[in-house]
């Protein structure tokens, strides 16, 4: 943990907890040191130094996700101010690829964790539901790279998508029924057809620390 080279015992402990191999941990540790500029923790400002992240439309949400306490598996709520290497690894562990030897139960748990991570990114006010406003927010951010689109289109798209969600989750709705928002179970239902466990992964072994930040 931190700037000193990890002792093997600690490393093994980290490996067990997060599921990474020691090689991967070493790679990520190097990257962590780069990002934190040899400090023990990373703050939000450190993420500003990553050049390619600038162009990402949902940059804010990604950075936010790193500091979200729910993702860091801490009991409390809200945002952390800074994260250490272990927290960094915890966030990265959401993007581990599946392994051949996982059984059904493990796969299912894995999938749920990944989806929970995504859910937290949508649900910015931490109330456990994705409301229409939050959804609109997401779509607007996604389409923000496009200067020609009016806000109208983004909103109507968000509305349309929300209604799709409503119809999947609740089915036929009476005329005066109100759909509060997408809960995590509804979210799971919507992603049922899509193999998130095969798509949501990064090849950690090919981490190339040449792509540095300045």
């Amino acid at each position: 943990m931190g700037s000193a080279h990890s002792v093997p015992a600690e490393m093994r402990e980290l490996a067990d907890r997060t599921g990474f191999t020691s090689e991967q941990i070493e790679h990520l540790h190097r990257r962590f040191k780069q990002l934190s500029q040899d400090q023990l923790t990373i703050r939000k400002e450190n993420f500003d130094n990553i050049p390619d992240l600038e162009f990402n439309p949902i940059r804010g949400k990604i950075v936010h996700a790193f500091f979200d306490k729910r993702n860091l598996r801490q009991e409390s709520d809200g945002l952390a101010d800074e994260i250490n290497f272990e927290d960094f690894l915890t966030i990265m562990s959401y993007f581990r690829p599946i392994e051949m030897n996982m059984d059904e139960e493990q796969l299912d748990r894995f999938r749920k964790e990944k989806l929970k991570f995504l859910f937290h990114m949508y649900d910015s006010d931490h109330d456990g539901k994705i409301t229409l406003q939050e959804y609109r927010n997401v779509v607007e951010e996604l389409l923000s790279g496009n200067p020609h689109l009016e806000k109208e289109s983004a909103r109507s798209i968000a509305d349309g998508a929300m209604m799709e969600a409503a119809s999947i989750c609740v089915g036929q709705m009476g005329p005066d029924q109100v759909y509060e928002g997408i809960t995590f179970d509804d979210f799971l239902k919507m992603w049922q057809g899509i193999d998130i466990e095969t798509k949501m992964h990064v090849r950690f072994l090919n981490v190339d620390t040449i792509a540095h930040c300045y």
Binding site: R31, Q34, L35, I50, D52, L53, F55, N56, I58, I62, F66, M92, F95, M100, L118, M121, T131, L132, Q133, V138, V139, L142, L143, N146, H148, L149, E150, K151, E152, S153, S156, I157, D159, G160, A161, M162, M163, E164, A165, S167, I168, Q172, P175, Q177, V178, Y179, E180, M190, G193, I194, K199, H201, V202, R203, F204, N206, V207, D208, I210, A211
Partner: protein
């Protein structure tokens, strides 16, 4: 009408748009050789030529009376026969689909071969000689390109490039493995003098191995389209069948030249390796280049919409035959051309042209495929066979063994590099899906008989292998897929929310990759997209507006649903604006704001109903119930919107535009929460941006 009698002769060169004309020339030669006159006799034409041949001027002086009715078959023989063949093929297809269950048990390709066999048998029986064999030139120049074009144009590019490494690995190394393995093992068998095959040399065996190891895209398409395995598996097998053309061409030509050369030097082997790179990369480059030219051409076709589809076909065919001219890989050229063209052409051409292109392409490829299989059946019957139990059975055996071994070994290696390793089930399907088809069939016919005295033996062996793969493997693959519980594809309607999720997801992944400094697939894809947006799109697309896949999908879906609703008679007074907007699209630069709003208004008003219908219910089932419910829903929504609009018009007199747009949000949005409703009221005073909409 009898003035043009006499033997058919090759037609004079005509503009290349008439693709059938060269076919006439080729088929004329083939037909004449095979004694087509008697064949035409079989096809029902009565005795030819009731009119005597015209006397060459001056030599004899025979006076003929005026004929009331003449029959001149030779004049129209070639186009007549071609039309009859195609008609027969299409009628056979109709026949198969009349009985529901048949195409699901037996793939169409088998049935077509059977029909071909039947026909071949009839022709053979009637005239005691081999029926016209499918000319390899006809196959390679006319029948194969439409199928590959269709496949390349509608290829899911994203999935293809994500799996490109694996596909390339299977195609190149796998085919090499198969070719050399089969060749050497067959040579070993040939050495056993008991089988009477000792005169077949090693090189001949290697050549045979190379032509029989090619997985055939036509056969793969024909069989896989019915079994609906998941897209990843499909793209692996199909991609392999497309990309292995490069190596097949190289190996085939290499070994054929080696067979004809007396000494083989080391330099020749290196030349062979270099040739592979030239063939593969050259083909792709030609394809990409012509794809860009095609995209560029369509940039200027907005005045003559009618011939837009023609450019797509011409340029892709041009890429194919240019590659063939240089003995490069035509299949790779046409695939690359189609994939490149697709993105840009789609935006430049009108909606109608796009539909035309799509349907015409499908039609051409369907006809080609049918003809190929029928001809294969017809050509099987005949006298060009030589049966040798050992050779034929060992060929079949080795094909299966080497394919299975090859897939297994290669997968173990490539799994190290893949993030999602391929399971045994996947490997089995990949191995089992290595079907041989018309390409090996035609290649074997192209072998020069002088160099290959045992050519007939090869033909027989190839036919047996093809029949085995198409019939046995084709029929059993479906129950096997179900038995092994292979993941199937889920063909759902594309939904906007899914698109949103996918995009969101891509950005998250890219972000995480940036954070950990990883140059992954996403990184390259992003870089390409930036380059594309900056240079290519500006150059190749006429009205270049940065496009978002979410927005375009949304618009596409809404237009489609609006048309559906209009057709089903739900909307009473709308059709004019919907069709108007489509019609005007070509003439005005963007849709004019009033039209856009009208369209939007109509669409969003019926938004809830549209979504409901696509997601939960199939249009064909539950028809009665759905209609009633829908009518009720629409009524309720209209009442809501009417109520809201009354409320609004009292408060906002000035911005009419605004109310028009806002009504639907309210009637829908109120479902989500009170908060949303109040939120939607808020922006009214302060959004000057909406006035911009009006002033446009």
């Amino acid at each position: 009408m009898g003035s043009r009698g006499g033997p058919p002769r090759p037609a004079a060169p005509r503009p290349p748009a008439l693709a059938l004309v060269p076919v006439l020339a080729v088929l004329a030669a083939g037909a004449a050789e095979a004694g087509a006159t008697s064949e035409s006799h079989l096809l029902g034409a009565s005795t030819m030529g009731t009119s005597p041949p015209p006397s060459p001027s001056g030599t004899t002086f025979e006076e003929t009376r005026l004929h009331v009715f003449t029959l001149d078959y030779p004049h129209v023989q070639i186009p007549f026969e071609i039309t009859l063949w195609i008609l027969l093929a299409s009628l056979a297809k109709i026949g198969f689909h009349l009985y529901h269950k048949l195409p699901s048990i037996v793939p169409e390709s088998c049935l077509l071969i059977l029909v071909g066999l039947l026909l071949g048998g009839i022709i053979f029986g009637a005239e005691e000689k081999s029926p016209p064999v499918m000319n390899s030139d006809v196959f390679f120049l006319y029948l194969l390109p439409p199928i590959v074009l269709d496949a390349g144009y509608f290829m899911p590019t994203r999935l293809f490039f994500e799996n490109f490494g694996t596909i390339f690995w299977y195609a190149v190394v796998g085919t090499l493995w198969n070719a050399i393995g089969i060749g050497i093992s067959l040579y070993g068998i040939c050495q056993i003098s008991a089988f009477g095959l000792t005169d077949i040399t090693l090189l001949q065996n290697l050549l045979f191995g190379s032509l029989i190891s090619a997985v055939d895209p036509v056969a793969v398409l024909a069989v896989f389209e019915n079994i609906h395995v998941n897209e990843q598996l499909y793209i692996l097998v199909f991609g392999e069948s497309l990309l292995n053309d490069a190596i097949t061409v190289v190996l085939y030509n290499l070994f054929k030249s080696f067979c004809q050369m007396h000494t083989i030097k080391v330099i020749d082997i290196f030349a062979g390796i270099a040739n592979f790179f030239v063939v593969g990369i050259g083909g792709v480059l030609i394809g990409i280049l012509l794809g860009f030219v095609a995209a560029f051409t369509t940039r200027f076709t907005h005045k003559i919409r009618v011939i837009e589809p023609l450019f797509v076909f011409l340029y892709s065919y041009l890429s194919y035959i240019t590659a063939e001219m240089f003995h490069l890989s035509g299949i790779m050229a046409i695939t690359a051309c189609a994939m490149t063209m697709n993105k840009y052409v789609e935006e430049n051409v009108s909606q109608k042209s796009y539909t035309t292109i799509k349907y015409f392409m499908k039609m051409l490829s369907s006809v080609s495929e049918t003809l190929i299989f029928i001809f294969m059946g017809v050509s099987t019957v005949g006298k060009n066979h030589e049966w040798n139990w050992a050779f034929v059975s060992f060929t079949l055996l080795f094909c299966l063994i080497w394919r299975a071994l090859g897939v297994f070994v290669l997968t173990q290696i490539i799994n190290v590099f893949r993030t999602i390793p391929l399971t045994f089930k996947d490997q089995f399907i990949i191995a089992y899906g290595g079907l041989r088809g018309a390409i090996c069939f035609s290649l074997v016919f192209l072998l020069p008989s002088a160099v290959f005295p045992r050519k007939k033996l090869f033909i027989t062996a190839v036919i047996v292998v093809i029949f085995f793969t198409v019939f046995i493997q084709g029929i059993t693959i479906r129950p096997l897929v179900e038995f092994l519980d292979v993941k199937r594809s889920n063909k759902k309607q594309p939904a906007v929310s899914e698109e949103i999720y996918n995009r969101f997801f891509d950005h998250v992944k890219t972000g995480i990759e940036d954070v950990c400094g990883h140059w992954g697939h996403n990184f390259w894809r992003d870089k390409f997209k930036k380059f594309d947006n900056k240079y290519l799109r500006r150059l190749l697309i006429r009205e270049n507006q940065p496009k978002s896949s979410i927005v375009s999908l949304y618009k596409k879906l809404e237009i489609k649903h609006a048309i559906e609703m209009a057709e089903s008679g739900m909307i009473s007074k709308v059709p004019s604006s919907v069709s108007l907007s489509e019609y005007h699209e070509g003439k005005i630069k963007p849709l004019s704001p009033t039209e856009m709003e009208n369209m939007r208004e109509i669409l969003t008003k019926n938004l809830y109903q549209i979504r409901h219908r696509t997601m939960s219910y199939n249009r064909h089932s539950l028809a009665a119930d759905a209609n009633e419910k829908q009518a009720k829903e629409i009524l309720i929504r209209r009442r809501h919107s009417l109520r809201e609009s009354l409320r609004k018009t009292n408060s906002l007199q000035s911005c009419n535009t605004f109310t028009v747009n806002f009504r639907p949000y309210l009637s829908g949005a109120h479902r989500f929460s009170r908060e949303a409703e109040s939120a939607s009221y808020l922006p009214i005073p302060k959004s000057s941006s909406h006035f911009r909409y009006q002033g446009n």
